[in-house]
């Protein structure tokens, strides 16, 4: 039940395919050769390190090591999340919001999947917890990022409509209700798509990996179904918490719209008089 181990030569052979991409870049003057090379080297180093770290952590089966690796994963995801935002609140609160929502959604979904659904022994077995956390974080990151993007850009675009509602006595959540709905809908789209095409157009990565590793395809399918449900819950929860948090960062306790708190936002234009 084990995959054929890959040698260094095998990897070099695979890397030859990257050269094809590089040649295309040179021939058509895309000027991507450098970026491709850097990205490829980065990827090799990252995955090699992760491989060794995980090997070490998996051998320990220690709750401390598992928690430590999980924490690093959440922190890196949080930084990546905020890097993706064009307009983000200009404070450490933004990083706090990203990390908190990732930790909340990723942590809850992973714990639920690992302890209640799969139930390995011990419950913190890194072999189950860490891969699930990785997938959950990746997907939650995407949906949170989409939710925040939609919300923050929408707030900028529709600021006068939002302020009109606030001037009429709406609370911040009432004033943002339309945008909140829109941003959560946008955040859910990738998940809907990946569920729709799972197994038909694409073979999901985890399922493909398990089959390559020699698992029974129907067992692999069951795992994939489980993980898609977990991802659905995590990304929904994450997007909701992040969007709500973002509304609170863009407004103040008096329910005023405070877009001046968004970095990169235009200065509050002084209106006509």
């Amino acid at each position: 039940m084990n995959a054929i181990p890959l040698s260094a030569v095998d990897l070099v052979l695979a890397a030859a395919l990257l050269i094809v991409n590089g040649i295309i870049s040179v021939v058509f003057g895309l000027r991507l050769e450098r970026s491709l090379a850097i990205a490829a080297i980065r990827m090799v180093v990252q995955l090699a390190v992760v491989g060794y770290v995980l090997k070490f952590v998996l051998e320990q089966t220690s709750p401390v090591w598992t928690a430590l690796v999980a924490l690093v994963m959440v922190l890196v995801a949080g930084i990546e999340l905020m890097q993706r935002q064009e307009r983000r609140p200009r404070s450490w609160l933004a990083y706090g919001l990203g990390n908190a929502t990732l930790l909340l959604a990723g942590g809850l979904a992973t714990l639920y999947a690992a302890t209640i659904v799969i139930g390995p022994s011990p419950w913190y077995a890194p072999r189950y917890v860490l891969p699930i956390l990785g997938m959950v974080l990746g997907n939650t990151l995407t949906s949170i990022s989409l939710a925040l993007q939609t919300l923050n850009e929408g707030a900028e675009r529709e600021r006068s409509a939002i302020e009109a509602r606030i001037a009429l006595g709406a609370t911040r959540l009432q004033a943002f209700s339309g945008l909140l709905r829109q941003s959560l809908r946008t955040a859910t789209t990738p998940l809907l798509n990946s569920m729709a095409v799972a197994g038909v157009v694409t073979l999901p990565g985890m399922m493909a990996g398990q089959i390559l590793a020699g698992a029974d395809p129907s067992e692999a399918a069951k795992y994939q179904i489980m993980i898609l449900f977990v991802l659905a819950g995590a990304s929904g929860l994450g997007a909701f918490a992040a969007a709500l948090g973002s509304v609170f960062l863009m407004t103040d306790a008096r329910h005023r719209l405070r877009l001046d708190r968004l970095a990169g936002a235009r200065r509050g234009a002084n209106r006509n008089s």
């Binding site: 006068s160 409509a161 009109a164 001037a167 006595g169 008096r254 008089s273």
Partner: protein, 202 residues
């Protein structure tokens, strides 16, 4: 009564004044003198220091949304959050009365906002600000986009608000309109000086 003490709008001199129930205070000044900024600060849409009391209650004693239900800012160019007018209003007999007071009807509510004329949008915006009967109306150039007839109707409606003991702050570049409506004037200067002159015609 609306009482303003040491209102500190960023970039403006500190302002103190009072407007009694049923009175209209005209706010005058050249473009850029901060008329809109002052009205927005009174509605607590922008942070500003100082005290604003409405009938003895300071704005900080109420939640922001509650304050804005009493102290209503109406922009010269009202913004809309739904495609047609009807989604912006609670259905009520009062709404029908206000519509007919400004020569509008149900048809205007059902047409897409984008298809209405600027003047129709402005009148609809004023109605939106009036329909739940706030105590204080902060009207920012309420007739800037209106023809003479509609402007006259709007002035009648503002007078009616004053008869109902509401407080009106009016920003207008129409001197004659200020003469007709205002009980007092507040002059904002582009520079740091400002003065208040009493006794304009009611």
């Amino acid at each position: 009564m609306l009482r303003v003490d040491y209102l500190a709008v960023p970039g403006l001199p500190t302002l103190s004044f009072e407007v009694a129930a049923g009175e209209c205070l005209a706010v005058e000044g050249p473009s850029g003198s901060g008329k809109t900024r002052m009205l927005r600060a009174l509605a607590d849409l922008d942070p500003a220091g100082g005290y604003v009391h409405l009938d003895g209650v300071e704005r900080s004693e109420m939640r922001g949304p509650q304050w804005r239900r009493h102290v209503r800012y109406a922009s010269a160019e009202p913004a809309w959050w739904a495609p047609t007018g009807v989604e912006h209003f609670p259905k009520s007999a009062r709404l029908d009365r206000l519509l007919s007071a400004l020569a509008l009807d149900d048809g205007h509510l059902r047409r897409p906002i984008a298809e209405l004329s600027t003047g129709e949008r402005q009148r609809l915006g004023l109605i939106r600000a009036l329909v739940d009967e706030p105590r204080v109306l902060l009207l920012d150039e309420p007739t800037s986009a209106l023809d003479t007839t509609s402007a006259a109707m709007t002035e009648e409606l503002i007078k009616y608000q004053l008869l109902a003991e509401r407080i009106v702050l009016l920003v207008s570049h129409d001197v004659a309109q200020i003469e007709r409506l205002a009980h007092a004037r507040l002059q904002l200067a582009a520079a740091t000086t400002f003065r208040r002159s009493e006794g304009a015609a009611a």
